[in-house]
Symmetry: C2
Subunit: 503 residues, 2 copies
């Protein structure tokens, strides 16, 4: 495979590549987990309030429930004297309606009796004796109607939505779900992610170094990133640069995993085994297309608006890109998925169970290429394809490029498999000001590892040293990836840049 | 316990309370985990580069290794013609030194032969035939010395530190550790955290609601927060407001856990069982102090400088507070710990093993109080004590206050138990601009749930509705906690505030 054929890959833009990935990824299987284990998982169903909340008018503190009118003239030197007719502990039964001139002792969380419309905090009262030595209380200031009472239904109405499918379950969601009685929670199964490293130069991590060789550090790095993204890594080890062996390993991985990630061998080198396999897919696809002359061209169904100049929130920032659909991709005619497909027909991930392929019943769909070059640095040879309906990501062997490829494409795919909406799967972005000049221009957009810090409400991005794709020294310190647009001259200190936030 | 005694708690400042917690918390037991499972754990030892990195001069791309001087006059119309004397694959052995007028084909990651001082990318060359039909290559542009070569030792020198103890292991660290052969990684054991909810009004999450009652949602919320912080939650269930039963449950929890968290019962209500237990500790402590007249007063060993007006990075922002040591705490005379103690003598957490208390050999140290009131809203009754050398946190039963109490005090303690430096344990803070007025003043500093968004490089905090301590509706949406100083009038839109970042 000498000559030009290995160079004629068409580079597509990052946003276009991401769209292709997200169209090929569909939410996976659902499982149920106990509430106490639901934190950090992604919700699989819309869950609603099972009752109004609070379910009864609730005291916000310890004190006395009163009729506010009875305290209208109260002051420290002329307190209102109210007869105490009972006590409401949290969890106690509601009392009879409160009559004029009376009060009830009430604890935080207690049900405010009918007739009472305010709670006075204990510290603003004094014990007293009323007529006939009955227990009484002096209230030292006028209570406002509604004071210190959470009204029934104030926070939630029965049936209102607590969280939508694809929501990552945070501790606050856990509190809500517990409040409304969800002892078990429907979540998406963890995607199983096969990880393989290719390259004759690779040694196991535990081995002594040999001349010209390096240890396979990418597999463990990717495993850590998969865990961060909710997936279950399956480390399938190292493979020599032997196409037949790699193809066999891929076939085996397809039986076990929902997504496959390879590292290394994607560039234009003579022994770049993944590049050869990807070329094979492209060539088969071209042959197949000749047999399907009326296949439709690609048109993006996802609309990533350009928001470079606008606000974007930490939570909802879409991955912005000026859409450029003038270059049509030829890859979608084989796509077996649609966003609205009933996912019982889809390949599923398994939770704590051996994998049983549902798709043995049906012929495997033909593999198809998503992309084999992306207009970005680092990581331009990053490639992706769909085989047997499953995503294959062929990431660069350079650790910096491998890292960027994962953040831009694999993490979004893992989120999509766990039900996150396509829009919310894109990398989280914020805007920040460059803390120093970044002088290097680039013909493609560039992702630069950076620290982030704030000063007087302004967010600053300070690019890290050791930012070459082959370097990993600065990966642990990177809090973000500055996304610099293509251009001849980099960006000046103080200019506003988009930054992808890293976990 | 009627009357004034339950009101005379002395409120200490948040920073002071945090210092007391961090002085009482010490790094726990160490365990070793495989590299592939090390992501997200906290490193227990300083790990260093076991070799220079790269270990040899390494080609950054696929192309030809050349002597740059041989290409000095090369241009597309007048390429330099070099004889190709061999090929270096990644992992291949180094070749003989490169002689003048020659080149070697080299792959990404290949060892650059002696004599070569530049690599020309394949795309800038053309195959050719030299004299006598020898293989040759045309180089179309002048190569700069060092071009596309990573020099040996460029990123790391042997022995240089890769990461310090207490570092949270991110994917980039995993890559570094793999590169240098650390197949097993020393990390801190997960702290075991007992969680108990108190209150007669509490039902299990799975139970139907009863009049005046609510479900125990705090326990599951806390469990999710413990998991986020690297701890292992032990859910010990609900307890009635019965001091004897709660004391017995605490004694049992002390046998199983490294930290104990209770929720509810800390306020001034008649049935506030945790408040009664905390008062008991305070009273025992006072009696004990009478027997130790020469005990020393407290002086903080941690120095949290006031950085409100200065920059703070996302990673290293100390929890800022104008130190106020005029009010001396009386709690430190019993402290059995010091920061430099050999922690083999300390109570240890266990990893996948039943708990065996090391401290059965020695008499239990007396319990002592850290604080029973904090000058903050919400959560002022938040209390902490040390029993048998272990931290007890009594958090509010109000979900909003419980959440804040965990973020301010429990999460830092869990990080400290996992080796994070005391300075880095404090909540992560940034500065942001208020996106709207927050008009409510407060006699104590206030923590307000907020969303965060960026616009043109400025970070904005937009306070959420439903921010009362009893409300949980906005907890899931909170991306931060605005820290508003005490004052009569809140803060105006556009003013710069400190914000604690939430996971």
């Amino acid at each position: 495979m000498q000559g030009a054929s290995r160079f004629n890959r068409r580079a597509i833009k990052v946003g276009e590549a991401l769209n292709l990935v997200l169209e090929a990824a569909v939410p996976g299987r659902r499982v149920t987990v106990p509430l106490r284990e639901a934190g950090g998982r992604w919700l699989a169903e819309s869950l609603t309030a099972t009752t109004d909340w609070p379910p009864f008018p609730r005291s916000g503190l310890d004190g006395y429930a009163v009729r506010s009118a009875d305290t209208a003239l109260a002051a420290p030197e002329s307190p209102a004297l109210l007869r105490v007719v009972g006590t409401v502990a949290a969890g106690g039964l509601a009392l009879a309606p409160l009559e004029q001139g009376t009060a009830v002792r009430i604890m935080t969380g207690g049900a405010v009796p009918e007739g009472a419309d305010a709670v006075v905090m204990l510290e603003q009262t004094a014990d007293a004796l009323g007529a006939g030595d009955e227990p009484a209380v002096r209230v030292k200031s006028a209570a406002a109607p509604g004071q210190n009472i959470a009204q029934a239904g104030e926070e939630f109405r029965r049936g209102s939505v607590l969280a939508e499918p694809g929501t990552r379950i945070r501790p606050g969601h856990v509190a809500l779900l517990g409040t409304f009685g969800y002892a078990d929670v429907p979540v998406f199964a963890r995607p199983r992610v096969a990880i393989m490293a290719t390259g004759n130069e690779l040694l196991p991590v535990g081995a002594p170094l040999e001349a010209g060789c390096i240890r396979d550090s990418n597999s463990s790095m990717i495993a850590a990133m998969v865990e961060q993204s909710g997936g279950e890594p399956l480390l399938l080890g190292r493979l020599a640069d032997d196409p037949a062996a790699v193809e066999a390993a891929l076939a085996s991985a397809l039986q076990q995993a929902d997504i496959i990630i390879t590292t290394g061998g994607v560039s234009v080198g003579d022994f770049d085994v993944m590049a050869a396999i990807i070329r094979g897919i492209r060539q088969n696809e071209s042959a197949d297309k000749l047999r399907q002359p009326d296949s439709m061209g690609y048109s993006s169904q996802l609309d990533y608006a350009d928001n470079t100049q606008h606000s974007n929130s930490m939570e909802h920032a879409p991955y912005s890109e000026s859409a450029d659909n003038t270059q049509q991709s030829n890859s979608m005619e084989h796509a077996p998925y649609s966003e609205s497909a009933d996912n019982t027909q889809q390949p599923n991930s398994m939770e704590h169970a051996p994998y049983s392929a549902d798709n043995t019943q049906q012929p495997d769909p033909l593999p198809y290429l998503l992309f084999d070059k992306v207009a970005m640095r680092p990581g331009s040879p990053t490639s992706a394809a769909v085989i047997n309906g499953k995503l294959l990501f062929a990431l660069s062997g350079n650790p910096g490029a491998c890292f960027v490829g994962f953040e831009l494409f694999v993490r979004p795919a893992l989120l999509r498999l766990q039900g996150v909406s396509a829009e919310a799967c894109a990398p989280r972005m914020m805007t920040a000001k460059l803390a120093s000049n970044f002088e290097k221009g680039s013909p493609h957009e560039r992702f630069v590892r950076t620290r982030l810090f704030s000063r007087e409400g302004e967010l600053y991005a300070d690019p890290l040293a050791f930012n070459k794709s082959s370097m990993m020294a600065s990966i642990p310190d990177a809090e973000g990836l500055i996304r610099l647009p293509a251009g001849p001259s980099g960006a000046a200190s103080g200019s506003v840049v988009n930054v992808i936030l890293l976990d």
